[in-house]
């Protein structure tokens, strides 16, 4: 029954290629000769048991954490040469509180030595593109949590990244804000077609947002399955009762349960 409704595994052209990745913490292997291929222009969510290293994986792919062995290539070149956008779980600790919202968003452009007027223009264009209104000149800490995370997302987007990584970007937000930012993220994705990798601790959310759901095992971590979910966008919460959504989620949950019992 399950196998009948489960979608077939898809073969994508690889954009992010992880080869032989190894990482140990305190002598315990978290990743050992780990291989992974993620497609271009798709939104991949990463889901798996606690402590399987979901965040560690994107942190290694984005260069935030060193790994012991292996390679990560993005668009055919070493990840260190790639333009990466990264959204942290905790906006409070990753945005710059001494800056206004505008200065926070502009920062990656400032690092590249782009002139102030062009910076400003680029930010305005970004806000207009995603229909976001923000009081840009206010100190960042005066904005709501959701707005701050939105600033963090815009900051990650402003320098035209090749990949966008998000580490549980909704976990510090209340439910209302989560829904809003999720929608905005979907808009961003539809508008840009940016290769996106998002770590999630919520299976429903992971399926709802994803083109591909990367299901990971307990440590030492391997890929349980890279599940495909191709329901067209824009998706609304209505699709959560759609048979295909339910089937994919049930399939993922089944795999997850089986993984937990091993």
């Amino acid at each position: 029954m399950m196998t009948a409704t489960a979608p077939p595994e898809v073969v994508d052209e690889s954009f992010i290629a992880v080869r032989g990745l190894s990482k140990a913490f305190g002598g315990q292997a978290l990743y050992a000769s780990f291989d992974l291929d993620l497609p271009k222009g798709k939104l991949t969510t990463i889901f798996g048991p606690n402590g399987c290293g979901k965040s560690t994986l994107i942190n290694m792919m984005s260069g935030l954490i060193d790994f012991d062995a292996g390679s990560v290539e993005i668009g055919g070149q070493d990840f260190r040469a790639a333009r990466i956008g990264y959204v942290f779980q905790n906006y409070r600790d990753s945005l710059f509180p001494w800056c206004s919202a505008l200065e926070n968003i502009e920062y990656p452009l400032k690092l590249r030595g782009i002139s102030r007027s062009v910076q400003r223009f680029r930010v305005e264009a970004l806000l207009a593109q995603f229909e976001i209104t923000l009081d840009l000149n206010r100190p960042i800490y005066e904005l709501s949590g959701g707005q701050q995370q939105l600033v963090a997302i815009l900051r990650a987007l402003v320098a035209n990244p090749e990949v966008l990584f998000l580490d549980e970007p909704f976990s510090a937000l209340d439910y209302e804000m989560t829904l809003y930012i999720r929608d905005k993220l979907q808009t961003v994705f539809m508008e840009t077609g940016l290769t996106t990798v998002l770590v999630s601790h919520d299976l429903e959310e992971a399926v709802y947002l994803a083109d591909r759901i990367l299901l990971l095992s307990k440590r030492p971590t391997r890929i349980v399955e890279l599940i495909s979910y191709e329901t067209p966008r824009p998706r609304t919460t209505d699709i959560m009762s759609d048979p295909q959504f339910v089937a994919v989620k049930a399939h993922a949950l089944e795999l997850f349960r089986r993984e937990m019992q091993r």
Binding site: F88, L95, F96, P97, P108, P139, A159
Partner: protein, 270 residues
């Protein structure tokens, strides 16, 4: 506190309330009024001999006169100038040194004991040593205070940098910041709140050391000199008046730094 809050909360300041002060706003005055009342009672009851404790009224009247007609203002300016000179020297040297040590944790660990040792040592214990080196000069008083300020500021700046939020450093790194850009745009600003704690402690310490130095390193001007002379020639009214002025100077410096802190480090605690 509330006075400085009004300055920073960003609301229009033009609409100051024009109303009879309520009982709550008068609360901060209770302490000083009770204090002066107690002072007056003790001096009026002659529990303490009048030659040791003049009445508050006599003291403040004398103070007013000394400020306008006497040398009190000149002495205050001398002490304040020395305090600010010492502070400026200590801070200008201490902040960069602290930030440099703080951004290299191994370097800081290797001098940590030394900084902690001198920071814990009473600076007054070094006065004779400074006399040997600098003689009984004006420079001496400033030098020893500057030394103390330098230690406090260095220590706090170093810790400010070391305790910078790792995630902000990572955020800058993933956005492609060079080590220098991380230092300039993240570490330096992250260290500012702690650096300001150091500066505030530094200015208080500077005043303390300058006044002590003026007492014991043969000065002919300054509040410290005035206080010790008032004691020695039993001109107690002058001594009390000078103590009050020293207290006011210390208080005002502290308020100044608190306001500057709130305005400059507006994000602190947010």
């Amino acid at each position: 506190m509330s006075a400085t809050d009004i300055l920073i909360d960003g609301k229009p300041r033009g609409y100051a309330k024009i109303a009879v002060p309520s009982a709550t706003t008068l609360l901060p005055l209770v302490g000083p009024v009770v204090f002066i009342l107690a002072w007056w009672l003790i001096s009026a009851s002659h529990v303490v001999r009048a030659v040791l404790l003049p009445s508050p009224l006599a003291t403040f009247a004398y103070l007013g006169d000394a400020l306008v007609h006497g040398t009190m203002l000149a002495d205050t300016i001398v002490t304040l100038t020395r305090t600010l000179e010492a502070f400026a020297i200590g801070a200008v040297l201490g902040v960069p040194v602290g930030v440099a040590f703080g951004s290299n944790e191994r370097l800081y660990r290797s001098i940590e004991f030394l900084v902690d040792f001198f920071r814990s040592m009473p600076a007054s214990a070094l006065i004779p040593l400074f006399i040997l080196f600098f003689g009984i000069t004006d420079i001496n008083k400033v030098a020893i205070a500057a030394f103390s300020v330098f230690l406090i500021v260095t220590f706090n700046s170093a810790y400010g940098v070391m305790n910078a939020k790792k995630s902000r450093i990572l955020a800058a790194k993933v956005m492609g910041a060079t080590p220098f850009q991380i230092f300039r745009d993240v570490l330096l600003l992250e260290s500012l709140p702690q650096t300001f704690v150091g500066l505030r402690n530094g200015i208080s310490t500077s005043l303390v050391i300058v006044v002590v130095a003026e007492m014991f390193i043969g000065a002919d001007q300054g509040l410290g000199h005035r206080i010790i002379e008032g004691e020695q020639i039993l001109h107690v009214t002058d001594m009390y008046a000078s103590i009050v002025v020293a207290g006011i100077v210390g208080y005002l410096l502290n308020v100044l730094f608190m306001v500057a802190d709130k305005r400059l480090i507006h994000w602190n605690g947010k």
